[in-house]
Amino acid sequence: MPVDPHARHERQTRREAALGRVALLIARGAAPQVSIRGAAEEIADLLGGEHVSIYQDAPGGWLTLATSGAASPRDPPSIVASITSGAARWGEIHAGSTDDPELHGEHTRLVEEFANLLATTISLADARRDLLDSRARILAASDADRRRVERQLHDGAQQQIVTLALHVKELRASYPTESGLQDRLDQISSEIQSMLEELRILARDLHPALLTSDGLDASLRALARRSPIPVTLTIATDRRAPGPVELAIYYTVAEALKIAVQSGANQLSVTVEADESFFRATIVDAGISRAASGRGRGLVGAADRVETVGGTLAMAILPGEGARIVAEVPFGATIGRENSSRFEPREALDH
């Protein structure tokens, strides 16, 4: 059969352009199903409208992820290409083709090229999910640690120091006034007092215990009361969200408050609301608007937390006013597995 070099070159150009478009989808971070659908359409188009199906080898059996081209597949399919993830088969592309041996070889190679491209998007998605999971685990572990330390400070160290202070008082009472020891013991008592005060603040800043016991409303109100600038708080929901979601909202408000104070805002308004699908906190600082550029940096911690529970954090600078920060977290967010229990075992505290 005569080979038409011009036609072959044209087919190659089309193939490269099609591969390029799917690669771009993947590079832009499109969801795997979008890239897979795009690939099916491009293949069908390159094969002159032949049927194309892309399947996933799922634990419960084969799943059809996308079909394109002619309605009915050839049986058996002319071309089968494996999509692999790591060493394992993840799925397959099935496509029809012509009986022309040269064209058939060309088609097989192009379907294989798409299969390799899809393998990339799948391993990228897997890696991203692993990363998010591990971030959620690390955050959950760090929160659990902070909560544990806060408890140990309150129920352990602080308690022991109060008991110690009682012993000092007891000692003081058992010595006669003229022994001269009393002033010394009073001095010790007042030093213990200031130690307790420092410990109390340290524990409080470590973990908002009130959030766990009484919920967002109470803990945000306590935060607002301690604020050096007035905070107008509107809590339009009494729904309890999972612990990590509430913590994310709490820390977002706490960080926004800190930044507002640092950037010279003279008041802050905070609104927390919920509908069937979202928990939303909107924070607006009204006042002197400083250089906007540096403002977002302080929110990195809050953004990490919000994203870890599947939400988004957005900030907008309002010209001449201040900044608006919106944190939105879906209720159905997938959250690190360790977070489900509200009360952890206390074996570390019981001696």
């Binding site: 602080q158 308690q159 008991t163 012993h167 008082k169 009472a173 109100r221 301690r226 007035p230």
Partner: protein
């Protein structure tokens, strides 16, 4: 009656602490009828002795959260004449409101206050006498919280002082003593404060504390 000592029951999951506190109270002329490591034990002691006062740590087994408040509520139901003093490592207005709403003769203090023995004993006596007391640190936090269009701006510094002492549960006589003025002067201040802030005028010390706290929290 006059010779009877005030009878007290204690609950705290730390044995050393509650023994220390029991010693202190005994030394100061109170009778400790029993001490418990958790709410259930305390309830048993209260049922048997019906003490004048129960001193309760807010964080106890099983949840180590706000268990003390639940026990306090139960004691209110079963033994209304028992006054309640709740101790906590950190002080929260929500908990104060919950406690005060549960009935009169209530106190809510930072745990570390027990080491200022004279003041602590005086506070216990005030609660046992029918007064209600919230920790000065909480009152301070509420009074100094910054608000826009704050109604407290209408008060003189002296009136703010009086308001804070009211919130701590002091009677007019107690406030007069504290500020070295006559009771009549305090009455005038209180009248002006309550009118200015639209807090309902009431004779009951307990209601007065609750009203002031509610106002401070909501302003």
């Amino acid at each position: 009656m006059g010779t009877d000592r005030t009878r007290i029951a204690l609950a705290d999951d730390d044995l050393l602490f509650r023994v220390g506190l029991a010693n202190l109270l005994e030394r100061s002329g109170f009778e400790v009828v029993g001490h418990a490591g958790d709410g259930a034990e305390l309830l048993a002691i209260v049922r048997e002795h019906s003490p004048d006062l129960a001193v309760i740590d807010i964080r106890m087994p099983p949840t180590h959260s706000r268990d003390g408040l639940e026990v306090a509520r139960q004691i209110r139901e079963e033994s209304p004449r028992t006054a309640i003093l709740l101790l906590s490592a950190h002080i929260e207005v929500e908990h104060a409101m919950d406690l005060l709403a549960s009935g009169e003769r209530s106190g809510y203090l930072l745990k570390s206050r027990v080491t200022d023995v004279d003041e602590f004993i005086e506070t216990i006596a005030r609660i046992a006498d029918g007064g209600s007391v919230v920790d000065p640190a909480l009152v301070q936090e509420l009074v100094s919280a910054r608000r826009t269009n704050d109604p407290l701006d209408a008060l003189t510094p002296r009136e703010r002082e009086v308001l804070a002492l009211m919130a701590e549960g002091r009677s007019n006589a107690g406030i007069a003593q504290q500020l070295w003025v006559t009771e009549g002067t305090v009455e005038k201040h209180v009248h002006h404060i309550l009118g200015n802030l639209r807090i309902q005028q009431t004779d009951l010390d307990h209601r007065r504390v609750l009203a002031v706290l509610t106002f401070l929290e909501s302003r």
